[in-house]
């Protein structure tokens, strides 16, 4: 993978000038490369990783992992029905997977009944959906390589040879 992408994946706030210095390249070249990645959809968006566990007094979110069994369709396989499912704003992630079921969804809702209603009223009745299993998320420890903890203090002594 291009090292520009590697550093941006770690810290999207780096400026092209900083990346240029790090990688010993011209800032203009970095700018152009990033623009190209954005245009091609390699870089889709930039966002902060928020630890929701630490946010108090706001609408808490309930998350569920939902396994979905589908009947594939002629010519388009799972793609068409998957599109119908992932287009719901309640669905935050959608993966086609191998194994005993076909789709794995991450669904978010204001509370448990909201998610349950989504499954019962929107998801399960779909024509090609043969069955669903819902797992509510109890605690998040790590997400996308980030461990959801307070920043750790520095354990090194401040000066040494």
């Amino acid at each position: 993978m291009d090292e520009i992408l590697e550093v941006l994946e770690k810290d999207a706030r780096l400026t092209p000038e900083e990346i240029a210095k790090m990688l010993k390249k011209k800032p203009q070249g970095i700018k152009e490369a990033i623009k190209k990645y954005e245009k091609e959809g390699v870089i889709l968006k930039y966002k902060a990783v928020v630890n929701r566990e630490l946010i108090k007094d706001t609408d808490s979110l309930v998350r569920a992992l939902i396994e979905v069994n589908l009947t594939p369709q002629k010519d388009v396989g799972f793609d068409k029905v998957a599109e119908r499912i992932y287009s719901f704003t309640e669905v935050s992630s959608c993966y086609l997977i191998s194994g005993t079921y076909d789709l794995l969804l991450v669904v978010e809702g204001r509370d448990l009944p909201t998610v349950a209603r989504f499954v019962a009223e929107k998801l399960a009745p779909l024509e090609n959906v043969r069955g669903t299993t819902t797992h509510f998320l109890l605690k998040k420890y790590k997400e996308d390589g980030v461990i959801l903890k307070h920043r750790e203090e520095n354990k090194r002594i401040a000066i040494s040879y």
């Binding site: 210095k21 401040a158 040879y161």
Partner: protein, 388 residues
């Protein structure tokens, strides 16, 4: 009361910058560029192996030489990486970091009055340990050669009483390293004077611009070379204290004699973790190296722009910068920078004579800190210019 302490120890020079170190350690919220160890924690698989070994009840002594399993892994690693062959039976010794390996090596070979060549700037322990072992350190200054040791320097310094030379590359504190061709040049004079070469290559894995070449891989060099390495820098395992010495059976046996009476063996937990490091840790080393390389480019560029001139390190995570253009000596620069902007660096005088105008700055700290440190140094220098 004075006679309680041995003459040898009384003669050891206390570090001239101990007071400065105490100053740093007493301050809070310092951005430290003064640290001689990686800012990464030991990769989890390695920590996990240490924990598991404790759960399994591995709490005993090991062979004096170290766990056979670890010596085998080291032999395999050196063979694969450098085509360098050592017998795990009698040519490898596991030590408490490279520091212990050094002490053992010097004590094993030095007769009273033997001279040891030490290129400077050098790591702080080489000179004092040589003295403690009864040897005479002979310092070879390199600042006029862009911090690179030259064959001529060795040739001029070596005489009949010279027993060994200490090499350390990539070098702490300058980041200098040597290509194979340069090493061949050094080797010629080292062999000519029949010196033992004690080669501290603990930063070997942290080489940026070319392949690291162990001195022992040069033709005809192996029989007079001690290869020292450890897990501290490349696997971010400083606190585990595991290093190793590889060399001719005769020297390793002599070192093992001392080691068995002083240390007995390296803690088994650390040895078990080191086995895991060699088994599965290579990927982590590569990731860390790429990160260091990016920081290096960014940081060295920044320092040079601020007028803190430094050569680009070929290895290690150190920048050795000249404070000459600031009008301050390294120690003043370090003290004032700490007091006024809370950035800690190590004054060059710690690493040898004639280095008054230098400071060592470590880029083994995260990118945000490096960026902030450069901003603070810039503020500091601007204020100094205004007050002139």
């Amino acid at each position: 009361m004075k006679n309680i302490i041995s003459k040898k120890v009384q003669d050891m020079q206390p570090s001239g910058i101990r007071a400065f170190f105490d100053l740093v350690l007493g301050m809070k919220d310092v951005i430290s560029l003064g640290v001689g160890e990686p800012d990464f924690v030991t990769p989890w698989s390695i920590r996990e192996a240490g924990i598991y070994s404790l759960e399994q009840g591995f709490t005993s002594y090991t062979s004096n030489k170290g766990l056979m399993k670890l010596r085998l892994s080291i032999a395999r690693y050196l063979k694969n990486k450098y085509n360098l062959e050592y017998s795990p039976e009698d040519e490898i010794l596991i030590t408490v970091g490279v520091s212990e390996a050094f002490d053992l090596a010097l004590r094993a070979i030095i007769n009273p009055g033997d001279k040891i060549l030490i290129p400077t700037p050098s790591y702080v322990s080489y000179g004092p340990l040589t003295g403690l072992a009864g040897g005479i350190p002979v310092y070879l200054e390199t600042q006029n050669d862009n911090f690179k040791l030259t064959p001529k320097k060795i040739d001029q310094a070596a005489d009949k009483k010279t027993k060994a030379i200490i090499l350390n590359y990539p070098t702490n504190p300058t980041g200098v390293s040597y290509t194979k061709k340069e090493l061949e040049g050094l080797k010629k004079v080292i062999l000519k004077h029949k010196l033992i070469c004690i080669s501290d290559e603990v930063y070997g894995d942290l080489t940026y611009d070319f392949q690291h070449t162990p001195f022992a891989t040069l033709s005809e060099a192996k029989n007079s070379c001690l290869y020292l390495n450890g897990f501290s820098k490349s696997y971010a395992m400083t606190g585990w204290r595991v290093g190793f010495a590889c060399g001719p059976q005769e020297i390793i046996a002599a070192m093992t004699k001392i080691h068995q009476y002083t240390i007995m063996c390296v803690p088994i937990t650390s040895q078990m973790a080191a086995v895991e490091a060699l088994d599965t840790g290579r990927k982590s080393v590569e990731v860390m190296l790429r990160e260091y390389r990016r920081r290096k480019e960014f940081f060295i560029h920044g320092l040079n722009q601020l007028g803190l001139v430094c050569r680009k390190p070929e290895g290690t995570f150190y920048a050795f910068a000249s404070t000459e253009l600031t009008g301050m000596c390294g120690l003043d620069f370090a003290k004032k920078l700490l007091e006024e902007e809370k950035v800690a660096v190590v004054p060059g005088v710690a690493f040898g004579a004639g280095l008054e105008d230098y400071v060592r700055m470590s880029f083994a700290t995260n990118f945000e800190n490096l960026k902030e440190a450069l901003v603070r140094i810039e503020n500091f220098l601007r204020k100094k210019r205004r007050n002139k």
